[in-house]
Symmetry: C2
Subunit: 355 residues, 2 copies
Amino acid sequence: MISLKTKLCTLLNIEHPIIQAGMAGGATTPELIANVSNAGGLGTLGAAYMKPEDIKKAIHDIRKLTAKPFSVNLFCVENSDKPGDEEKNIVKNELLRIGRDLGVSELDIKFNAADYFDEQFQVLIDEKVPIISTAFGLLPEEKVKQAKENGIIITSMITTVEEAILAEENGVDIIIVQGSDAGGHRGTFDLSKHKNGADVGTFSLVPQVADNVKIPVVAAGGANDGRSLAAALALGASGVQIGTRFLSSEEAGIHKAYKQKLFDSKEDDTVITKVFSGRPARGILNTFIEEFSMDPLPYPYQNTATKSIRGAAAKNDDGEYMSLWAGQNLRPVVKEQGAAEIIEEIMDGARKILE
Amino acid sequence: MISLKTKLCTLLNIEHPIIQAGMAGGATTPELIANVSNAGGLGTLGAAYMKPEDIKKAIHDIRKLTAKPFSVNLFCVENSDKPGDEEKNIVKNELLRIGRDLGVSELDIKFNAADYFDEQFQVLIDEKVPIISTAFGLLPEEKVKQAKENGIIITSMITTVEEAILAEENGVDIIIVQGSDAGGHRGTFDLSKHKNGADVGTFSLVPQVADNVKIPVVAAGGANDGRSLAAALALGASGVQIGTRFLSSEEAGIHKAYKQKLFDSKEDDTVITKVFSGRPARGILNTFIEEFSMDPLPYPYQNTATKSIRGAAAKNDDGEYMSLWAGQNLRPVVKEQGAAEIIEEIMDGARKILE
C-alpha cells in the first residue's frame, strides 16, 4: 500500500510530495515558488544565473508571499578554462551569421563567465533559506558544514547510481534522481564518460538509486500528473520533482513564444543539445539548434555568448532562436493553469490511482 | 486502486500481466517460452532471424512443453537497397581488421539478406499460433486480415504516440510501448526523424500512449521487478514486457560470456549502436562498438556481415565482440534464476506495493 504522505513530506515539512524544479533563467518567479509552497508542495528558486543581490531580493519577495518552506537551486560546477581568441572568433562569426538569419544585424556577444558562487551561497546562509538544492555537482565540504550548522536541508540532483552514492557520502539529505526524460540541463557531474550526460531513463534509474542509498529519493524527468506521482512512489521514490508542467503555469516567468512551444510540442520533439550553454540539455528542437553547426564553447562561455541571440529572439517573439528546455512528457501540457491548480490535479489523480 | 488482473490478462487469457520479450537471435528457447507461459505470463519466440522450418519446429517444441498461450515475434521491415561493392569492401576490410584484434585471421563475411518474411508469417498462420507480435513496423493489411480470420491476436511494438495510433488503426490488439530504457533494437518504424530511433523514456512514453489509444498498452523498457510492474500499471499500462531479466534466466539461450556481462554491468553501461545490425539497438558498450569506426551498412546487410565476428567471439568466449543487447535497469540482474521464479518474484513484489 502506497501512502502519499512520504518521508519527503516529513523531512521537508510539506504536505504533498511534489517539488517544483529550480529552473534557472527567470522561470521561477517568487509568485510561482510561493504558490507552489502555499499549495503544499515545495517551490524552488532557480538562482544559478542570478547575482547575489538579486537572489537576496527574490528570497525577500518569496517570504512576503509565503511562510512555507522553499528551496534555492545553485549550479555546483567549476568554470572551464577560458576559450582562446581563435575559438571565440569562430563561434562569434557563427552567431553573427545566425543573427542575420534571425533578422538582426548587430549582436553584442560576450564571452565572460561571472562567477558568483561563493557570494550566492553566502546569501543562502545569511538568509537561512530552508533548503538548498544543487545541480551538476555537490557542495564542497565546508559549505555542507555551514548549511548543516544553519539547519538547512540539502538536496542534490544526480543522473547515475554512482553520483547518488557520492551525494549521500557528501551529506546530502535528499537525492533528486534525474532520468533522461527530464528537460533542461543534464545534471551529470563529470561528462567524460557520457559526453551528452548519462542517459538513463527515469523508469530505470529511480529504483536502482533507491536500492543503493538510504536517504529519500525524488523522481525527476517525465513527472507531470497523478499517474507519474503514483508510479514514482511505486518505483521507490519518496516524491517527484516537476519542471516542464510548472513552466507552462500562469506564474512562470518565461516568454509567451516559449510557452506556446510547450503547448504545441510532442513527446519526441526534444533533443539533447550543447549549443545554448556548452553543457548538454534537453530542449525542443528549433532552428538555432539545427543552424549552429560547430562545437560550442565550453560551459559557461557558450551560455554568455548565445545570450545576445536569445535576447534578440525574445524581442522578436521568435521561439526558433530561444532555448526551449522541456522534458519528454510534453503532450499533456496544453494549457496555462495556476500552480496551485496543477498541484491539486496531480494529488487528486494520484489519490484516484492509489486509494 | 490498481488491480493486477488487467485487461491484458483477459485478452491474452493469461494469469499475470507479464510478457517475455520476443528477442531474436536464439535467446528465447522453447524452455524459456514454455516456462514463462506455464508460470502465468506470456512467453514469446523471437523468430525474426529464424528460417520458416525452424520456426515450425520451435512451435512444435513449445507446444510439447505447454498448453498455455504463447507469442511469436517477427520484424516487419523492408530490406534496404543492397549496398554496392565499394561499400561492402570498406566494411569487409574493417571487419577483417577487427577480426585480427579478436585473434582470428580469416572471416567468412557474407552480405546477404535472406528474406523469409512471407514464409515465416505463413508458418504462424498454418500453426494457428495464439499471438503474433511485430517489431519495426506493422503487418500489411492482408496479413492482419489473415491473422484475424484465424483468431490470432496481434501485438505491435511502437516508440512514439504517432506509431501507436497507426498500430491501432492497423487492427493491432495490444500496443507494446518501447521506451528508450529498453534493450535491443529500437522499434522505431521510420528512422528519418530520429536516426537512432525515438528516444522517449518509458516513464514519459507510457502515459502519453495510453492517453491516445483505446486498446491495452504494455510498458517495455526498464521493467524487471514488482516495483516496475506496479509503476507501469500506475502510468496507465495494462502490463509489462520484460527482456533483459529473462535473458539472464537459466533457460535463456545466450552465451555464458554475454550472461556474465549482464550480471557485471550497470545502469549507464549501455549505448545505442548500429554497428552490429545496421539498425539502432541498445547494448552494453564493448570493444567491437568502440572499434568499428565507420558507418555500418544498412540493415539487414550489416547484420549478416558481422555474423562472422560474433561467431568467432562466441568460440573464444569473448564478450567484447558479441552484441550484448541489454536495457538500462541492469543493476538488479545479478544472478541466474528460473523463469518461473522470476515471475513469482515480480508478482510478489507488485502485490506488496499494491495490496
